[in-house]
Subunit: 185 residues, 2 copies
C-alpha cells in the first residue's frame, strides 16, 4: 500500500463505486457496504454519505467521528453483498469474510488490506445527520495498492445488480475546464 | 419517453453516472454537466448534488427551485464534456449542441430528448447551500426512453477520463436485505 495525497479522494469516488466502510468502537471493528455517497468538494476533500440508525456502524461513526472508506474491486463482489446482508451486532465481519484489518495512519478504524484503496476519514459536519443521516466526511489520508492487477470497480444499480467497470474513454484533451484536477491517481 | 414512478430515481443514479442538469430562468434554458451527486433516500426520493456559484445554473436553480437531471449515455460523451467547457451566460447550449428541449410534466426546466432518462426535480432543502453548495432535490417525475439501444452510462473518474459501463453482475438472489428495492426500472 502506498500513501497518496488525501486531496485525491475524488479520483477514487466520483465515478460512483460501491464501497465498504469500516469503523472501530472500542475493541470492535466493523464493516458495512455503502452505496449512497458523493464527492462534495475537492479541497479540503469532503465526502457526503448516508449512514443511518439501521446501520450498526452508525453509532460507532457518531461516537468516534472516524471511519475508513475502502474501495473493493469486482473480485470482492460477493463479499460486498454478503457484508451488507448481516449486522456487526452479531458478526465479526473481518473474521467471517476473511478480510484483513490493517492499522490506519490517522484514524482508529481499520483499513481493509484486500481493497484497491482505503480513504481514512474524519467526520467534518453532522448538521444534517438528524434529518437525513447525512455525514460529511473529510478525507485525511489515502493508501492505494499499486500492485494488485484487478482494478475494475463495481457500481451498484440499487437493486442487487452491479455494473462492472468497462473500458476507459480518455477525454482529457477535450476537457478545458478543471485542468488542475487532471492529475495521476 | 415513458413515465415511471419518481421513487425509482435510485435505479438511475446510485451507480454514479455523469449527468446533465437543465434549468430554465425566464425564457433562457441551460444545461450543465454534473459529477457530484448522490442518492440520499428512497422515499420520498431525495438526491443531493453540488452546484456552485461558478455554475451559471446556480442562480436559476436557486431562484426557480426546479431542475431536470438528464442521464446521458456513451454516445453523448463528447457533448457531455463540451457542455461542461462552456457557460450558459454566453451560449445557448441546446442550440450549440443540437439537443432537443422537451416540455417536462411538473417543472419548468426542459427534458433533453436525446438522453436515456430525465428526472424532474424540485429543491427540497437549501440549508447547506451557503456552506457547501449542497442542494437537496426531490424527484417528482421520471421519463425514460424505452426504445433507444445504447444504454451504457458514463462514469467520470474526476480527471477527464470516463469509465463506460461494462457487463452487469446479477447478485439479486444473494442480496437478502433491501429486497423491496429490487424492482424493474
Amino acid at each position: 500500500m502506498e500513501n497518496i495525497d488525501p486531496d485525491k479522494a475524488y479520483l477514487l469516488l466520483e465515478s460512483g463505486p460501491i464501497v465498504l466502510v469500516t469503523t472501530r468502537h472500542g475493541e470492535h471493528a466493523n464493516i458495512m457496504t455503502m452505496g449512497f455517497h458523493m464527492v462534495m468538494q475537492h479541497t479540503p476533500p469532503l465526502i457526503g454519505c448516508i449512514i443511518g440508525p439501521w446501520d450498526y456502524s452508525y453509532k460507532a461513526l457518531k461516537e468516534t467521528g472516524e471511519c475508513v472508506i475502502a474501495i473493493p474491486t469486482v473480485d470482492l463482489a460477493r463479499k460486498v453483498v454478503e457484508i451488507g446482508n448481516c449486522t456487526g451486532a452479531e458478526t465479526d465481519k473481518f473474521a467471517k469474510f476473511k478480510l484483513t484489518p490493517k492499522k490506519a495512519s490517522k484514524v482508529g478504524a481499520p483499513l481493509i488490506a484486500e481493497c484497491l484503496a482505503n480513504i481514512e476519514c474524519r467526520v467534518a459536519d453532522t448538521s444534517l445527520v438528524g434529518k437525513y443521516n447525512l455525514f460529511i466526511l473529510e478525507a485525511v489520508a489515502i493508501s492505494i495498492d499499486r500492485v494488485r492487477k484487478e482494478r475494475r470497480l463495481l457500481h451498484h444499480n440499487g437493486d442487487g445488480t452491479f455494473t462492472i467497470d468497462g473500458r476507459k474513454l480518455d477525454l482529457r484533451d477535450l476537457m478545458i475546464q478543471w485542468k488542475q484536477f487532471q492529475v495521476p491517481l
